[in-house]
């Protein structure tokens, strides 16, 4: 394995900007790594070799001319979740129904990455339309967890997180509707951030559940995530729900956190996130992490968020409801898959046949659930009630943040489960989102940072840190402080303990 692919984004940027390495060399090294291991892990749906090399050369040309780097990450490669549109590059959302669709426009996130000189290597695998917690719902086959080939990398953004753990990319973009950045981060031993809702533009993010979806950074270190967050974040007039305020100073917070001093920081442990359904090793890892925070000077308090137990059921009414409407546009009339066309078929026949053939089982399940939940006569009992729960969850957060600056919990109740283990048990699959969903419902910010390996199965565990809306900087301060202390204690970054991957032809 090339050493270049083991470097962090911050290190790569420094070497590129000081011309120790060219962006093209860095990009080529990652493309080579993808070529070697992606048959094994299957994190990419599309690798844009030519586009990536061209973007890297453009950065090199500018730097060779003596111009200042376009951004702190100029020249650094990145893996983009296949749910964000890319002008001229296929975007499938992991679905057959969009197979072959080439968007005519860039998502705002995509555009900002390009403008910052970040090199987009390709599009990563995901659960179809981001619905799932294992990436097994991709129409194009599952992604394998680099820690254990037989296990899932989490989901829906399993491709993005696994590409980091497989050293195919130093940076990735995910989207988090109920945990799709954080939970894959936790089970692959990488960092994932769900920014405050409205903190990163959703323009060009193919909507699953509009009021919950949020794009965010994935990386191997907290600092790298912060650098990426600053590139993609901030107000966008194309997204009405985008927050019209400056981003909090997140990179500064990550650097400050690296001093590993958390004195004066109040950390709240959410008492509802423990007990039945929590793997013992995960629980022990979490408790050890809390001890580390305490040792860094943080004041640890217990907080109760009594309505969090209703968050998951409410989430599984709101997301299918919005999904049933958002996915109505996939009807074969204008783009994507079209089947069932014959001489006498009506438009409705073609719509029906295409949706039958183009959507997978989980997507259909959610469309049906949501259609039911929004139906007249049921709306108040389901969608209406779920919205009330959402308000109560938000109030729980407000009360908790009166007592604590950040809240902590395990990111997900278990380590990575085996491929196939939960596919026939949707409720078990949905429980993977138990701890992550409240932050989506309330719209506040949360991060998952690796907290070591579970002592019973040797698989990665994540520590979730949650902050109030607009206080994303707190995640980075606490996350970076914890990361430094943990790396110090374990003799280096956890992610380097990923086993060697089987390479193609090897």
């Amino acid at each position: 394995m090339s050493d270049v692919t083991r470097l962090t984004a911050a290190e790569l940027a420094e070497k590129i900007h000081t011309r120790e390495l060219t962006a093209e060399q860095v990009t080529q090294a990652h493309l080579d790594r993808i070529g070697a291991v992606d048959d094994f892990v299957h994190t990419f749906l599309h690798v844009d070799t030519e586009g990536a090399l061209a973007a890297a050369r453009a950065v090199d040309a500018e730097l060779d001319e003596g111009r200042a780097p376009r951004s702190p990450l100029a020249g650094v490669p990145l893996a983009l979740k296949d749910v964000l549109t890319t002008d001229g590059v296929p975007t499938t959302c992991g679905s057959r129904i969009l197979e072959g669709w080439v968007p005519p426009y860039d998502a705002t996130v995509t555009r900002r990455l390009r403008e910052a000189g970040v090199v987009i290597l390709g599009k990563t695998n995901m659960d179809e339309f981001a619905m799932g917690s294992s990436t097994e719902n991709s129409a194009f086959g599952p992604t394998h967890n680099p820690w254990d080939h037989a296990r899932v990398p989490g989901g829906s953004g399993g491709g993005s997180s696994a590409s980091l753990a497989a050293f195919e990319a130093p940076l990735a973009i995910g989207t988090d509707t109920g945990g799709s950045i954080r939970q894959p981060g936790a089970v692959t031993g990488t960092v994932g951030v769900k920014p405050t809702y409205g903190g990163v533009s959703r323009y060009g993010l193919v909507a699953f559940s509009s009021s919950l979806d949020q794009a965010g950074p994935c990386a191997r270190t907290v600092l790298d995530a912060a650098l990426l967050h600053e590139v993609i974040g901030g107000h966008d007039p194309m997204d009405s729900t985008s927050i019209d305020a400056p981003l909090p100073p997140i990179v500064e917070a990550a650097r400050r956190g690296a001093s590993a001093d958390l004195s004066g920081v109040r950390v709240g442990v959410v008492s509802e996130f423990a007990g039945e359904g929590y793997q013992a090793g995960v629980q022990r890892s979490f408790e050890a992490a809390v001890d580390v925070l305490r040792s860094l000077g943080a004041e640890v308090v217990e907080v109760s968020c009594p309505h969090f137990v209703y968050a998951l059921p409410a989430y599984y009414l709101i997301n299918p409801s919005e999904c049933s409407s958002n996915l109505a546009r996939f009807d074969a009339m204008r783009y994507g898959l079209r089947v069932g066309e014959s001489g006498d078929s009506s438009a409705e026949d073609v719509m029906r046949a295409t949706r039958e053939a183009g959507f997978g089982a989980e997507v259909k399940r959610r469309i049906m659930l949501g259609t039911f939940a929004l139906s007249s006569g049921y709306y108040d009992a389901y969608y209406g009630q779920a919205q009330k729960v959402r308000t109560l969850v938000t109030r729980d957060f407000d009360a908790a943040f009166d007592k604590a600056d950040v809240l902590v919990s395990p990111t997900t109740p278990t380590t990575a489960f085996k491929i196939g283990e939960r596919v026939d048990d949707p409720m078990a699959m949905y429980r993977a989102d138990l701890c992550t969903v409240p932050a989506n419902l309330a719209g506040n910010a949360a991060i998952s940072v690796p907290s070591g390996l579970s002592d019973e199965d040797g698989l990665p565990v994540g520590l979730q840190v949650m902050a109030p809306a607009l206080a994303d900087d707190r995640l980075y301060r606490v996350g970076a402080a914890y990361e430094v202390a943990r790396d110090r204690a374990s003799g280096g970054s956890l992610v380097y303990r990923v086993p060697e991957l089987r390479e193609s032809g090897a």
């Binding site: 549109t85 968007p103 909507a207 007039p237 729900t241 919005e322 409407s325 546009r329 929004l374």
Partner: protein, 500 residues
């Protein structure tokens, strides 16, 4: 295809039944851009040239509200004496149709921007009727389907359909009346008067082209009957897209006579949507839906709520035009009209178009003479209202200005108006395309005069002998030779110069 349907004599209908009306009017706003994106809204552009990811509903695209459309909605609400919601949202109306790119329409549902208002209408005999306004809400238009290969132009029986998304996302305001009761035999007339008054109001607000022929004003008429003396409403039908003022009146009248026959025969009126047939004034059932449509409305999560401040609302209130009644009083004074003259102009639907023509620079007399004579004839021939003629007051004012500046003669001006009516563009376009400018080049005219004098030497001699009135024949010949494009007065002067 219309089958014979029994109807009841109208006098009998109103003797036995009491009609209840509900009118839903959709108005396309004349904002420069669409409701939720920056695409242009020009009518008649090449299909699918005014589109973008958002109005095509491409995956990932998002709506952004058009502030000008919200202002128009508030102004309409204020002009209709409505309350303006201090906080309201858009909702998604979910149903599948190929001309709707997202398969949901972004609309307002239980939180309209304006509600609970009224409008006073004056009927042709001077009686005033107050119509309650239930609500006015914002929504986006759909694309347009052209169904090819069928007999009716409807989707049923068509071999394929063509879709134009230029209209998709154009801002619409839907204005819904409260039930209009107690107008009895005058119901059809009231329906027409309401749509007319609404159109005039919207035109005065300058928020829409209000062209029923182009679909920028569309009316759906709900009609039900109940036995006289009964208070519960009967079952209603909704006749869709009635696209002229006259049709509104005819559709209501027809539905009354049809429903009365059904009820009198012991039958039940089916709650359904119906289509209006211009040719014979009848209505026929739309496609029968097997199940009631469930639109699964929910608040649009991609948009933020609208919370107009008091200050903003009051500023917009300050931009409202005069109230129609006050406006009429002022017009009567300014134009020095008798009550009878004003009533005639009102009944001819001429007041607002004349006023707009005056606003565009013509004098009241000039504007009146065009609208009550030549244009009235054209409207009559076409069977439409003056305001429905495909010529705008501004275009008429331009023709008048061209006459006043000597660039057109009266007879050329009529040809220019014909050109505008035929869809050849603005007056200046017609003048250029048809080559209708007055021939004012004296050398060209002198040549024509010389030719005419040479062709009629006896007349020429009479003129030279002092019989000036004989010049008329030569003038006529010159006008004919110049295709009526010469100024007759100037021709006469030239003839007399030549013969002096």
């Amino acid at each position: 295809m219309t089958t014979m349907v029994e109807t009841m004599d109208y006098d009998e209908v109103v003797e036995r039944f009491d009609p209840v009306l509900g009118l839903e009017v959709h108005v396309e706003l004349s904002t420069a851009t669409k409701m939720f994106c920056g695409c242009a809204t020009t009518f008649g552009a090449e299909p699918n040239t005014q589109v973008c990811p958002t109005c095509l509903g491409l995956p990932g695209s998002l709506p952004v509200m058009n502030g000008a459309a919200v202002e128009s909605a508030i102004r309409i609400g204020l002009a209709l004496n409505c309350q303006i919601a201090p906080w309201c949202r858009f909702a998604r109306k979910n149903y599948f149709y190929p001309d709707m790119p997202k398969n949901f329409q972004t609309s307002q549902y239980d939180e309209p921007i304006a509600f609970d208002g009224w409008m006073d209408l004056e009927l042709p005999d001077g009686e005033t009727v107050r119509v309650g306004i239930e609500r006015a809400h914002m929504e986006e238009d759909t694309g347009k389907s052209l169904h090819v290969g069928g007999a009716t132009g409807r989707i049923h029986g068509a071999s394929h359909s063509l879709l134009d998304y230029n209209r998709a996302g154009v801002p619409l305001i839907e204005i819904v009346t409260k039930p209009i009761e107690g107008v009895g035999a005058r119901a059809p007339e009231v329906a027409r008067a309401y749509v007319t008054a609404l159109r005039d109001l919207l035109r005065a607000l300058d928020v829409s082209d209000v062209r029923m022929d182009q679909g920028s004003l569309r009316c759906d008429a709900n009609v039900s009957l109940r036995e006289r003396g009964v208070s519960e409403f009967g079952t209603r039908t909704e006749t869709k897209n009635v696209n002229s003022l006259r049709s509104v009146e005819r559709a209501v009248r027809y539905e009354m006579t049809r429903q009365a026959a059904v009820l009198a025969g012991g039958g039940e009126v089916v709650q359904e949507t119906r289509h209006f047939h211009e040719a014979d004034g009848s209505t026929s059932p739309g496609r029968v839906k097997e199940t009631a449509e469930d639109y699964r409305y929910f608040p649009e999560p991609d948009l933020v709520p609208i919370a107009p401040s008091e200050e903003w609302i009051e500023r917009l209130r300050g931009t409202l035009p005069e109230k129609p009644a006050e406006r009429r009083k002022r017009i009567q004074q300014d134009w020095q009209l008798s009550d009878l003259e004003l009533r005639d102009l009102l009944n001819a639907g001429a007041v607002e178009v004349i006023a707009s023509t005056v606003d565009a620079g013509a004098t009241p007399d000039e504007a009146r003479s065009w609208w009550v004579s030549y244009l009235a004839q054209q409207a009559n021939t076409r069977g439409v209202e003056l305001a429905e003629l495909p010529i705008s007051p501004a275009q008429v004012a331009r023709v008048i200005a061209l006459v006043n500046s000597g660039e057109l003669t009266n007879s050329l001006a009529k040809q220019v108006v014909d050109g505008v009516l035929a869809g050849e563009g603005d007056p200046d376009d017609v003048v250029a395309a048809r080559g209708l400018a007055v021939v004012s080049d004296d050398s060209a005219l002198n040549a024509a005069v010389d030719e005419a004098l040479a062709a009629q030497p006896d007349v020429a001699d009479k003129i030279r002998g002092g019989k000036v009135q004989a010049a008329g024949a030569i003038v006529g010949a010159v006008m004919k030779a110049t295709n009526n494009q010469a100024d007759a007065k100037r021709v006469r002067e030239l003839i007399l110069e030549r013969c002096s």
